[in-house]
């Protein structure tokens, strides 16, 4: 068997580096779209193979996803879609930003929960909560100022903590050479067990409660304002759009962002070029991890301040992992992340309705995983795309033309 080196030849021919990145490549936008499309088709096959009606299932999935206006419950579904998407976009941005600097921050999960627990703490901690409670009472009709300030403090503290948590992995990478993927995975589990098996089982629970009750509830002033009554839609979606703009601005309009991208482009080949240009690579990587972690933590604070109002005992992992998928589907561009986040949010919202058709709501994980898998296969996707395009060209143009063009 001769293992041909066609992939590397192919990559070279199309000016794509080892990671498959080439910003000017028009195929970039098609890869995520085709991946998601293929994933949806595979999902249909899974449903059909289990003897159920895929069309009915997808009608339920998309009908109740909040994407299509109309129907009695649309407002509620639309609100749920935006609430879920806000958290996913936050973790997606976190992973995407790190990708831009050539780092695989697989630890958005842990940073998300660190942000959540710290936001919870500043939400209920008596010195803070009492101050803002008194302020709220004193201000009367201007009480929203107290709400704004308390919410901001919780979110900012959460983001600082999440950023610091990610920066630990950055520090270990820069100073000690610990692979960032491994470092962040370990920190994920450390954060998860510290929070769910210790903090929420004792130090942060009301003494009178049983250990299954979760943490204290945050004060009313810390809760995010609702913006579309009677649904529970809150300001998180607006905040995450601001964060998206800030991320885009950081990446494409600042020196720091330029240097981060320079590091990212050369991450595979030792980052010598940015070093030669006088960029302090270690410092930028630390900063990048901090920014990345704080974005994931932003999502964690949405989870607490906008949805549960306490750290629940029933919290399950998955926001950070979903964020990886979203960053990949969104091709690590801030706008792409928003679109991918809305799509996954819609899937998750609609998946609850699929239970009517006897399909568990974790079905959306299958679609997500498949989409990520096809993106991992992007070299193959690109290869066959180019083949199809070339076949079309040879069909429409006589071969002589093509030779002349070459």
């Amino acid at each position: 068997v001769s293992e041909s080196n066609f992939t590397s030849k192919f990559l070279k021919a199309f000016g794509i580096d080892n990671q498959g990145h080439n910003r000017r490549d028009p195929l970039n936008i098609w890869v995520p779209l085709i991946s998601v499309g293929l994933a949806l088709i595979v999902g249909m096959l899974v449903i059909a193979a289990s003897g159920r009606d895929p069309f009915r299932a997808y009608a339920l999935l998309f009908g109740d996803s909040g994407l299509i206006p109309g129907g009695a419950s649309w407002r509620r579904e639309f609100a749920e879609l935006l609430i879920k998407s806000a958290m996913y976009i936050a973790t997606g941005l976190s992973v995407a930003l790190a990708f831009k600097g050539g780092l695989f921050n697989i630890g958005a999960e842990g940073q998300f929960w660190v942000g959540a627990i710290v936001a919870t703490f500043f939400g209920y901690w008596a010195p803070v909560a009492h101050t803002f409670g008194a302020m709220y009472a004193a201000l009367g009709s201007l009480g929203w100022i107290a709400q704004l300030l308390h919410g901001a403090i919780c979110i900012i503290m959460g983001m600082l903590a999440g950023g610091a948590w990610a920066a630990v992995a950055g520090y270990l990478y820069v100073k000690r050479g610990v692979n960032i993927v491994i470092g962040t995975i370990m920190l994920n589990w450390i954060a998860w067990f510290l929070i769910t098996s210790w903090l929420v089982l004792g130090p942060m629970t009301p003494p009178s409660q049983t250990f299954t009750s979760g943490s204290f509830y945050v004060a009313d002033t810390a809760k995010l304002l609702r913006i579309m009554m009677p649904t529970r839609l809150n300001t998180s979606i607006l905040l995450v759009l601001i964060a998206t703009y800030a991320t885009w601005f950081l990446l494409y309009k600042t020196t720091v962002g330029y240097e981060i991208r320079a590091i990212g482009y050369t991450a595979n080949i030792g980052m010598e070029a940015p070093r030669a240009q006088g960029i302090n690579v270690s410092r930028r990587i630390l900063q990048l991890m901090f920014f990345s972690g704080s974005l994931a933590a932003l999502g964690g604070s949405f989870f607490i301040l906008g949805l549960t109002y306490q750290f629940p005992n029933t919290a399950t992992m998955g926001y950070g992992w979903t964020g990886i998928g979203i960053a990949l589907i969104g091709q690590s561009e801030p706008l792409g992340v928003v679109l991918a986040g809305l799509f996954i949010g819609a899937l998750r919202t609609g998946a609850t309705s699929m239970q009517i058709a006897n399909i568990p709501k974790t079905f959306s994980n299958i679609i997500e995983g498949m989409a990520v898998g096809f993106i991992a296969l992007q070299v193959a996707v690109r290869y066959y795309l180019v083949k199809i395009i070339q076949r079309r060209r040879t069909r429409t143009n006589p071969p002589a033309d093509q030779e002349a063009a070459a």
Binding site: I106, L187, P360
Partner: protein, 315 residues
Amino acid sequence: MNIAQINLTIAQMLDYTTPILFAALCGVLSESAGVVNIGLDGIMRFGAFFGLLGAFFSHSPWIGLLLGIAVGCLVGALHAFITIRWNGDQTVAGTAVNVIAVGLMTYLLEFIFSTTGYSPQIQNYFGAQAYRVQLPFLATIPLLGAFSNLSFMIWFGFICTVLMHVLLYHTVLGLRIRTCGENPKAATTLGINVFRVRWFAVIAGAALAGIGGTALSISSFSGFSDSMPNGVGFIGLAAMIFGKWTPFGALGAALLFGTGQIVQSIIAVTGIAPKLAPGLTLILPYVLTLAVLAGFVGKSIAPAADGQPYYKEQR
């Protein structure tokens, strides 16, 4: 604490160790050849479910084990197809396997058993008395007595560790595998087919992760639960690193981390430090692994070409 209790605790510790050990061995084999398999947690989930499925319908854990191996190989082949055939990003491919495993196994659990959360319990599993390896002559000896009545899977784990050591360090194939992980270009120069060696290592490793999954569902427990493997794959990944990418190192680390998992029950039995928070014992594997990687306690270094796709004729 009397001898019987100590023996029971050791046996319990070994029960926790085995799935971690198989996951770590998967990592050792795959990464020795230079392919990072972060999806081993997902492969374990596949193995755990299909292992139970086989054992449930055939009333024999052996069929379950075979099915677990088969599904492990299949998912491993998928990982190899993406990362070796098409040079896809290994971490991304592994993440995909993990996410798919979460969704697909829950789907199949509800589809096949019409239950949520837990599969039905089975009688014929490796932990059942009939399937235990009986070594009566050990029973009266202190400490060794713990080994007198163990599940087959625990012994299988030890055997696989030794076999893997022999394979990696005492055979030509093992040398080739390690060459592919350290310097694939040199391997090619020597006429080794890097792609074929990596395919083998990834699939064989994934089979081990599949076995690790069955060790959870039809050995340590007698059923599949939706939370499986509950991060055991990642503890395995940590054990692989803590064990410095060697089979016996992985065994030692798995034993240490397995003990960490039951420290809580040891504390409960002995009454030492009842106030110690469970979270603090559960983070032990991960903290130790970071410490070793960072060189605070010894130093653990990955194979040089670990995680890098291989392009022929690339300078």
